[in-house]
Symmetry: C2
Subunit: 367 residues, 2 copies
Amino acid sequence: MNERHYNFSAGPANLPLSVLERAQRELLCLPGAGASVMEISHRGGPFRAILDEAEANYRRLLAIPDNYRVLFLQGGGRLQFAMVPMNLLQGTGKSADYILTGTWGNKAIEEARNVGDVRVAWDGRETAYDRLPEAGELNLDAEAAYAHFASNETIQGVQFFDEPAVGEVPLVCDASSDLLCRPLNIEKYGLIYASAQKNCGPAGVAVVIIRDDLIERSDKKLPGYLSYANHAAEGSLYNTAPTFAIYIVNLVAKWLLDEIGGLAAMETQNRRKAKMLYDVLDESDGFYKGHAREQDRSLMNVTFRLPDEESNKRFLAEAESQGLDALKGHRSVGGIRASIYNAMPVEGVEKLAEFMKEFQRTGSAQK
Amino acid sequence: MNERHYNFSAGPANLPLSVLERAQRELLCLPGAGASVMEISHRGGPFRAILDEAEANYRRLLAIPDNYRVLFLQGGGRLQFAMVPMNLLQGTGKSADYILTGTWGNKAIEEARNVGDVRVAWDGRETAYDRLPEAGELNLDAEAAYAHFASNETIQGVQFFDEPAVGEVPLVCDASSDLLCRPLNIEKYGLIYASAQKNCGPAGVAVVIIRDDLIERSDKKLPGYLSYANHAAEGSLYNTAPTFAIYIVNLVAKWLLDEIGGLAAMETQNRRKAKMLYDVLDESDGFYKGHAREQDRSLMNVTFRLPDEESNKRFLAEAESQGLDALKGHRSVGGIRASIYNAMPVEGVEKLAEFMKEFQRTGSAQK
């Protein structure tokens, strides 16, 4: 009843056990605050210390330059889909380029189209979004207000390891499902946003990293909560911040720094975990068929199918009976999806890899 | 270091100790879910059960009729300030009436003015928002798209106990700081919204109760996250919900039902707590001077001043040294504010009342 399983959910996803344990210890009383972190004012000293530390930890982890702001906002990636064009496209007289590599990119475009002119600079639809654009395939507008891409598509399982080259146009990235999985060169970006519930923390907060010059584009007539300028001017305290979610985001960042040893070490571990599963696919003589093209395979979401729907169902049922949860692929792609974000332990992936080999060998992994 | 104080913060505010204790017990593993409530999919069975229970508990507590929806959204009261006019005013060709009884009402009006025509149906500014409108003072438009009021103003400490009479115009209420403090007749309202961090739960979620016919006003071109129609159509799962915050909101609602005995019992306790402090004011021969007019005094926020700024400072410092925290009034009003929401224990208010009497008697309450 109270046993923790290995949870391959695409998000909200795993949190590091040590983070949960600390949050549990401190839940009734944040040391020195006289109350739970959920009960204290967002403008008081104890919470400001947490917020400042969270920002400092993000700056350290990602080597964020001084001319970028780090904001913690509500509304998830979905609200960012609207805030990006409302702040950066509206009123510019320009259009925005969108590089379309999967389901989430499509949702971002829908919102942008409600705001202004959108050009699709590349669309992977023809091959069911199983690959990323090659160099030279992008149809970019050198005058675009910005160029948008999703660094990782959770449903299809494709991930960029190099940013698309967009020249001088500000690059905007939906990194909801892979921020903090590896080091980034922040200077290549104008704006990066990520809902927290994959690598960064719990659902209910999004991280936004934005270059100073882009903040100035925000129109004063925007709904107050939707203006990056308002949030930047108030240091993420334009209104009551989602205090508990930010507290967990900070603990996760500390875990990356203190227990993992930073993002280069995290990337090494992520590559090791992903290789374990992709090796099983590649050595399965086609029993497991990956969705993504080899060089575009995601480190975060491993997507594949079994030979038939009946095997697929049996795979899911037997996996769950062994404490390997939430492996069902998204309904739009089907098959299996193993989400192995930062906090998925190596042992969980090992157990899944063993399960997969046994399932293929015997047509079952039942003991 | 780890001792809980009495926390009179205006919000985020106290949570019931039994709620915190249960959340602590379940933090590593929600029974039956194999993971923390922060780690599970918002679309999976275990979280859906929580969401359904939260809605059912709100329906029971407030006797919400079937033609109203209960939504749990991100962005706080501040995003509601914009969502209300964007959904209910925009495109109607009408104006909206705002009854202005304090600071939060003013902020709601600012947002509405960015969207459409606003009429101020009453403004308490002349007397520093120390009172509510009398019957007959409201200057209402019978054709308004809606009429908006804040049922409790946290900064000034005034609270409505009867809804303003607005005829057939849909009544919209910002109940951020007093929802669940007493029973309501929901049928008098078109829409009620409340950020959770006073009476309902932690920061990071807002409760919206909306009548079906008003949902239909939402324009399809609104930013997706800002459309009540989208959230209603998806039962609060239009995007990833703030799962942990909703889990706590549900535990607080259960506490009200199972431990307090419902909202009538809660109101009795709230009246008892508020009377303890207002009695000290009234029996202080003017040493403590309340801000709000007697008949409009809030049950949630007791606002008052001491004879001079020096006494005020000493009061705050000595209170804090006795574990009575966060009593400083808002900078715009000054003085003292004791926020005594639902979860403030009777003993906390007793201790503050004793402290106040001792402080007046001796010019100090230092032991």
